[in-house]
């Protein structure tokens, strides 16, 4: 479980996160949603430790990240997997080598065991054997996301972060990636935090949704609660399109 308590973050006097508190549960797909510039990416990067917060607490199962030394943060990060918006695969390595990389850095496994584990992870995200030796630039965006998920779960993380996992993907592939993340979260009981403004994802897999508006946590609930919320900002954001307005009407 990750618990965020009264987190504030400013950049050159611009107060981006204002006293944000939230709990992200184990085995659930926790989603941070909000409009562009609302502060959701800053919140995620602060939780991971890529941004140093001004004050507040970020607890990973009781371990407060801002109090930790760099050495301890590195150890903690070995329990973290992350799926980046652009996949962030290493260009110089093949698909298989990308997934083996965290194992080579941190696991005591023998090289053959590492390869077996990497192959297992790649197969788990439904990638075919023939793509294993290809370079990341030789595979599609959807396949790159799958490789990135395989790399993120290679070390069996306790915490999984996904930054806009569906950006640049067609709706069908996006749905597959969403379901994959959800399956992995439940199967391995991971604390997953997804940063998204894709309403399809929210409706598909959002179990614990946190709505950030102008740096403030404006709402928290499940995907079912959204339909009954009277939060005006949330409604304006989620039901901006005609399609979702109709979906809301149908659900009411």
């Amino acid at each position: 479980m990750i618990e965020v308590k009264n987190v504030n973050k400013s950049f050159d006097g611009n107060h981006v996160l204002k006293n944000v508190s939230a709990i992200f549960d184990d085995g659930k797909t926790n989603m941070i949603i909000g409009a562009s510039g609302s502060g959701k990416t800053v919140l995620m990067k602060s939780i991971i430790g890529l941004h140093r917060i001004d004050n507040g607490r970020i607890e990973y199962d009781g371990r407060n990240l801002p109090d930790m030394k760099m050495k301890d943060i590195r150890v903690l990060r070995q329990e973290v997997g992350m799926l980046f918006q652009g996949s962030a695969l290493f260009d110089s390595l093949s698909v298989l080598e990308n997934v083996m990389y965290p194992l080579e850095m941190f696991s005591p496994m023998h090289i053959q065991e590492m390869e077996e584990r990497a192959r297992y992870c790649l197969k788990h995200v439904n990638l075919e054997e023939k793509s294993f030796q290809l370079a990341p630039s030789e595979i599609s965006g959807g396949m790159q996301k799958r490789v990135a998920i395989a790399r993120a779960i290679a070390l069996q993380p306790k915490y999984l972060f996904c930054d806009e996992p569906n950006s640049g993907l067609d709706p069908k592939t996006a749905l597959i990636i969403d379901q994959l993340i959800h399956e992995i979260t439940v199967e391995f009981n991971i604390t997953t935090i997804i940063n998204s403004h894709d309403m399809n994802s929210v409706m598909e897999i959002g179990e614990n949704i946190i709505f950030i508006n102008q740096g403030v946590k404006a709402w928290q609930g499940t995907k079912d609660d959204i339909f009954h919320s009277d939060n005006e900002d949330l409604n304006n954001f989620v039901f901006a399109s005609e399609l979702f307005k109709k979906v809301k009407k149908a659900n009411k």
Partner: protein, 246 residues
Amino acid sequence: MNIFQDTGRYVLLMKRVFVSPDRWRMFFRQFPKELEKLGLQSLPIVIIISIFIGAIMTIQTKLNTENPLLPTYSTGLVTRDTLLLEFSSTILCLILAGKIGSNIASEIGTMRITEQIDALEIMGVNSANYLILPKVTAFIVMMPFLVIFSMAVGLFGGYLVGVFTDVITTADYLLGIQYAFIPYYVFYSLVKSLAFAFLISSVAAYYGYYANGGALDVGKASTNAVVNSSILILFFNLLITNLMLN
């Protein structure tokens, strides 16, 4: 960002770079690749530039010292000392600052803007150490070989002038390049080149590592890397020359 902030950030980055790697196995896997990329792949440009500069220097020295009072071997001697003292260390490093500096800055800069460095950090890897240490050490290891190679090829370029033109005889040239040879000049040149290799690779890595934004910013990082490492090469050339030859 002012020069003091840049210097401070550079020193802090180097502090992260020069620590024991998380996994030596990964370092030794990366190190030979960098030797090949930064060293061996620079050989063609070193050969081409050195051979032409050696030849041109011989012709110009001969044409500008047409004096019966000067001994005939003086052309070879001047060519040799110029190559040994300045060209094969300083000028060659200025040229390599362009090739290697832009290569390192753009490679690391692209990794930065495509979040690959963030991915390393999230995994708990010391990204500065993992990415920069093999490059800096490989370039430092390869530089003396490139310098020695440049000296030899440059002298050979001058020799070719004797073979293919009437500007100088090969006998005079060969006598000149052997006359009053001071081995310390080679040592001085190698010391300089080691310092320049560190400057080129580390300054370029610094600009690449702290690139932010998009492709345009990677281009800016590359330009800054080349310009600033060139200026530093000239400054340290003066400093080392004053220390070692004065």
